[in-house]
Symmetry: C3
Subunit: 209 residues, 3 copies
């Protein structure tokens, strides 16, 4: 099946989970949960489409994306309602982990999706593909965090944009050398592995105290 479509669908669902989780954490009501899930899930793709002049963006043409986001949001809301009986400490840890994992999946999927759109655009260059990949990857999360009044993950999470950049460079470099499916799969794994290792091992970049 079409790999580009797969990354869109997976990224949409994963980012919808991360948006819905953050909304639940922030005590938003059911509609706030849907809105934040939607904005996170389709935001990156909408920014990507505006940047390459694809208007209206794909999310306005195919109801599938919004549908996936809303279904996902409501499942998250229902599951989160059940979890209310757990001890608060365990809930917080569970939320934290689900949010981080779904965010990493969305980041990986949309990064390689953006690279592939850049490579198939009218004037494909390595630089265009890589930067479109990074912007598409981080776009949904930035929108999510700005709407929820959180400091955007891309600015404060160690090795966040670095992971997207590494995966984008990898996918773009391999694009004409191996089948696109292989380039995208490998780039996807690069983003995901770097991001998850960074979370697990608390990798840090220098900062000024």
């Amino acid at each position: 099946m079409d790999f580009l479509l797969w990354t869109s669908v997976l990224g949409t669902a994963a980012f919808a989970v991360s948006g819905a989780m953050l909304a639940v954490q922030k005590k938003m009501d059911l509609f706030g949960v849907n809105i934040l899930a939607l904005a996170t899930a389709v935001g990156g793709g909408a920014i990507r489409d505006l940047l390459i002049g694809q208007t209206p963006p794909v999310m306005f043409l195919h109801p599938a994306y919004a549908t996936i986001a809303i279904l996902t949001a409501n499942v998250v809301f229902a599951v989160a309602s059940l979890h209310r009986r757990l001890p608060p400490g365990r809930i917080a840890a569970l939320y934290e982990r689900t949010l981080a994992l779904s965010d990493a999946l969305g980041l990986a999927a949309f990064t390689v999706n953006g690279v592939s759109i850049g490579m198939e655009s009218a004037s494909p260059t390595f630089f265009l593909a890589v930067s479109l990949g990074v912007v598409t990857g981080v776009g949904g999360g930035v929108l999510r965090d700005m709407l929820a009044q959180e400091m955007p993950a891309v600015c404060v999470k160690d090795i966040y944009a670095v992971a997207a950049l590494a995966g984008a460079v990898c996918t773009a470099f391999l694009w004409s050398r191996v089948p696109p499916e292989a380039a995208m799969s490998l780039g996807f794994c690069v983003v995901l592995v770097i991001r998850l290792l960074a979370i697990a091992r608390h990798w840090n970049l220098p900062r000024i105290r």
Copy 2:
């Protein structure tokens, strides 16, 4: 007279009031009041135009919109200056109510405006028209709240996007069945009535405590 133009003008003025009121609440100076009023008033339309590929957006072609927003902002500022003599409690209540009412009017006007632009675009579908309506309706307010560092109303106000969605669906459903003016008027009333009832009766959607 042209109904589409009417909704633009009414929405611009109403959102300018809501932006100016929030800026006054936030103790911004006269220019901050103008900026926030402008961003709120023309923001939704600018997002709409970018999404359908209308560049430059209409607000850059016709000075009328910016003029309406700026005149409105200065009237609000002047009136708010006079109100300083009222007791603080009454001022706060008055501000709150004016902000909510003008925001509801702007939401209603821009929602049906967006639906009608979607229906008159190159490839009109029910889904495109409804989603363009909701995005145009909530866009200005989201920009206003993000600039003023408030949690966006669309994420936390109960029955906010629901009102826009109901009005957009109503307008889009009636579009080919009755004259556009009737479809837009009815959709406008649906948004306004649902939103104002939700405020007055404190309607709530479920949330997780």
Copy 3:
């Protein structure tokens, strides 16, 4: 040499400094510093390009802009690391002043850049050129402040958008009367002088207490 290019390069570098300084102030890590510098430096230009329908935006076509922003960000980070030995009070004052000066330079450069792009667009009007100038000028700073969760300078700093507006009007007025280089130089000086005087003399617009 081409004046339009000069304003782009100067504005990019100046806004990169301001973005990097704010990130350092906010204790972001090295990558956060790069991200905020990049967003500030290329944000205004990207918004300008989206508004006039130039897709992909220039920053995606020419790696030079991102390169300038990233080099600048790393120099700022390195210099800021050295300054850690200064007494805290002097550091704060130094940061404050560097941020204000670089922001004023970026505002001036991008404002006249936007006016000139507006004047060379398909349907140049005085209003389009002035509003494109102001939006391009303030756009990068708004993005920077929203990403860093600061109240946008344009909303709360006295005489910020006023400076951009005065310079834009000046450049647009002179456009067909003197050579473009002269119009842009004069407009640049108008923005810079008004903004710096406003900072130095604490000029205020009325606000409601």
